[in-house]
C-alpha cells in the first residue's frame, strides 16, 4: 500500500473516529497530539538544524503565561494572547540564540545554556507574586465561549490541537523543501563546510530558533486553556523540554513525520503504564525508560529511520 493511501486513512480516522471514543481515550489522543505538536516545533531547531535545545520549556511557559495573564488581567482573548505569547517567545528565543550562537556555543554547551535559560524563567516565575508565584494561575471555569478559547467538551480541544499538529507538520514539510531546510541540514552535518558553501549559519540558526520558539509557545497557550491551570514547574520545568524532544528523537529527528509517529508510540505507553501500574509509584516511569532505552539502542535513527530501511 502506498504511503499516501496509508496517510489518507490515518488522517481520516483522526478526523472521524474521536467522537466515538470513550473520554479516557480521547484524553490520551489529545496528549498524543499536543506532544506531537511540541515535538514538531522542537524538531525544526533540534532535528533539522541539529541544535539540541534542552530548554524549550522556556517558550512553552512564555506562551502559557502570556496568554493567561493577558486573559485574566486584561480580558484579552487567549487566541490573541496566543499570538502575543508566540511573538514574545520568538523574541526571547532570538536573544538567547544570538547570545549562544554568536559566541560559538555548539553541541552540549548549547543544550546546557538553553536548559539554564528555562530554569532561570522558572525561578523568576516562582518568585514573582504578580504571576502567581509557585501556586500558579487558575483560569476560572465558565460557560463555553469559543472566542475565549473555552469549549464545552474535550472534543473541541481535540480538534484544535489536531489542527495545530497538522499545521506544524505542513510547516515542517514546506520548510524542509525550501532554501532554509537545505541550509539547516547542511549546518547540522558540518557547520564549517556549510559556511564555506555560502550558508549564513548564524542567520539560519536564528530563523530556525524563531520559528521553533514561536510554535512551541502556541502549544503553551493550548495547554493553559485545556487544563485551565498552570504553574512554574509544569510550564517551565525540564519535563516539558524533554517530552518535546523525546517524541522527535524516538520518531526520527529531522524528518517531517517523526515527531507525530514518536508521539503516537510514546505518549500512550506513558499514559497507559501510569494507569496500569497504579499504586506502585515510579514503576510506570521505569517502563517508559526501558522503552526509550530499547528504541535508542536498536533504532538510532528513530522510527522513521526504521520505516525507510524497510521500504528501501
Amino acid at each position: 500500500m502506498g504511503a499516501e493511501v496509508l496517510g489518507g486513512i490515518a488522517l481520516g480516522l483522526l478526523l472521524i473516529a474521536p467522537p466515538f471514543l470513550p473520554p479516557y481515550f480521547l484524553e490520551i489522543l489529545i496528549s498524543v497530539m499536543l506532544f506531537a505538536y511540541l515535538g514538531s516545533a522542537w524538531n525544526i531547531l533540534g532535528g533539522y538544524a541539529g541544535q539540541f535545545s534542552f530548554g524549550h520549556a522556556a517558550y512553552f511557559g512564555i506562551g502559557a503565561y502570556t496568554s493567561t495573564l493577558l486573559y485574566l488581567r486584561a480580558g484579552v482573548s487567549p487566541w490573541l494572547g496566543m499570538m502575543a505569547g508566540g511573538g514574545l517567545a520568538a523574541a526571547f528565543g532570538l536573544a538567547a540564540g544570538y547570545l549562544s550562537f554568536r559566541y560559538g556555543l555548539r553541541g552540549p554547551y548549547f543544550s546546557l545554556v538553553t536548559l539554564a535559560f528555562a530554569e532561570m524563567l522558572r525561578v523568576i516565575a516562582v518568585n514573582t507574586k504578580a504571576v502567581g508565584s509557585s501556586l500558579g494561575l487558575v483560569i476560572p471555569s465558565r460557560e463555553a465561549a469559543p472566542w475565549s478559547f473555552v469549549f464545552g467538551g474535550k472534543l473541541s480541544y481535540y480538534y484544535v490541537i489536531l489542527a495545530m499538529a497538522l499545521a506544524a507538520v505542513l510547516i515542517t514539510r514546506r520548510m524542509e523543501r525550501s532554501k532554509l531546510g537545505y541550509a539547516l541540514r547542511a549546518i547540522r552535518e558540518n557547520e564549517d563546510a556549510a559556511e564555506a558553501s555560502g550558508v549564513d549559519a548564524l542567520g539560519m540558526k536564528l530563523r530556525a530558533m524563531a520559528l521553533s520558539s514561536f510554535l512551541t509557545a502556541l502549544g503553551g497557550t493550548f495547554y493553559a486553556q485545556y487544563f485551565a491551570y498552570i504553574d512554574p514547574t509544569i510550564t517551565f520545568g525540564p519535563a516539558v523540554s524533554i517530552q518535546g524532544l523525546l517524541q522527535a528523537i524516538v520518531g526520527g529527528a529531522g524528518t517531517v513525520l517523526g515527531p507525530l509517529l514518536g508521539s503516537f508510540v510514546l505518549t500512550p505507553i506513558s499514559e497507559l503504564s501510569r494507569a496500569a501500574i497504579r499504586g506502585r509509584a515510579g514503576v510506570d516511569v521505569m517502563v517508559y525508560g526501558l522503552v526509550l532505552i530499547l528504541v535508542i539502542s536498536f533504532l538510532p535513527n528513530g522510527l522513521m529511520g526504521w520505516v525507510r530501511r524497510r521500504r528501501a
Binding site: 523543501r177 525550501s178 532554501k179 537545505y182 541550509a183 541540514r185 547542511a186 552535518e189 558540518n190 564549517d192 563546510a193 556549510a194 559556511e195 564555506a196 558553501s197 555560502g198 550558508v199 549564513d200 549559519a201 548564524l202
Partner: protein
C-alpha cells in the same frame, strides 16, 4: 588583481604560522601554492576564506578588503574553497550537497537543483546524484568538494590538495577537470603535493616554507631554485 594578500601575518599564540606573506592572483590565472608539510599553506586558505582572521596585513578581493568578513560572506563575493580533508554533508545526497552550494546564488529550489545537476554532470558525478554522500568513494568525495565549491559560482576557487590519496589514473582525470574549470573562466589557487600535477597546471608557483615565501615564478624556474630544493630535501642535503 582579483586577489591580493599584502604582508599578511598569522600568529597562534607564540607560533607564527604565516609571516609577512604576500600573494596575488590575477583574473583568469591558475596559481600553485606549494611547500613542505607544515609550511602554512592551509593556514593561508583559512585566512583567505575567513575562517581565521589575520594577525596583521591586508587581504583584498576584487579591490575590497575581506579582512573580518565571515566565510559565507566571502563565498557570496565569489571566493570559494575546498577542504583538504573532505567535508561532505554525509547524510545528504550528492545532489543535495551541491544544492547547498548552489543556494549561494539563488533562493529558488528549482533553480538550485538545475544548477547542481549541471555541475554534477560537469565533474562526472551525474550518475551518483541520489546516493547519500557517505557512500561515495574518496575520489568521488574529492569531486563532490569541487562540485559544491563550483556550484556557488565563484570567480576564484581555492583547491586544497584535491589529488591527495588518489591513484595516477584518478589524478589524470582531476587534472583534466581542473583544466576544464579554468577554461570556464574561473581563476584558481591550488595547493598540491603531487608535483607533476602542479608543475603541469600552474602558470605561476609560490613556495611557502616555515610560513614565509621563499620563491615565486614560472614552474620550471621554481623547480630549479636552490632554496626550494633545500626546503623539500631538508637542510642536510
Amino acid at each position: 588583481m582579483l586577489l591580493e594578500m599584502d604582508s599578511v601575518t598569522k600568529r597562534f599564540g607564540g607560533l607564527t604560522a604565516v609571516n609577512r606573506f604576500s600573494l596575488a592572483v590575477g583574473e583568469g590565472e591558475m596559481v600553485g601554492l606549494i611547500g613542505p608539510n607544515g609550511a602554512g599553506k592551509t593556514t593561508v586558505f583559512h585566512l583567505l576564506s575567513g575562517f581565521h582572521p589575520p594577525t596583521e596585513g591586508a587581504i583584498r578581493f576584487k579591490g575590497a578588503s575581506i579582512v573580518g568578513a565571515k566565510p559565507h560572506a566571502i563565498c557570496r563575493r565569489g571566493l570559494a574553497r575546498t577542504f583538504q580533508i573532505v567535508q561532505p554533508f554525509v547524510n545528504l545526497t550528492t545532489l543535495e550537497n551541491v544544492m547547498v552550494g548552489a543556494f549561494n546564488r539563488t533562493d529558488d529550489v528549482a533553480t538550485a537543483r538545475a544548477r547542481a545537476v549541471e555541475v554534477l554532470d560537469f565533474v562526472g558525478l551525474g550518475a551518483r546524484r541520489d546516493v547519500p554522500a557517505r557512500e561515495l568513494t574518496l575520489p568521488d568525495r574529492k569531486r563532490l568538494e569541487m562540485a559544491r565549491g563550483l556550484a556557488t559560482r565563484p570567480e576564484l576557487l581555492l583547491l586544497d590538495e584535491v589529488m591527495s590519496g588518489l591513484n595516477p589514473t584518478e589524478i589524470e582525470e582531476i587534472i583534466g577537470l581542473i583544466r576544464r574549470i579554468h577554461a570556464q573562466g574561473v581563476s584558481l589557487l591550488i595547493i598540491e603535493h603531487v608535483m607533476r600535477a602542479i608543475m603541469a597546471l600552474s602558470q605561476r608557483i609560490v613556495v611557502l616554507h616555515h610560513g614565509e615565501k621563499i620563491a615565486e615564478g614560472l614552474p620550471e624556474n621554481v623547480a630549479r631554485d636552490a632554496r626550494v630544493i633545500e626546503a623539500y630535501l631538508g637542510e642536510e642535503a
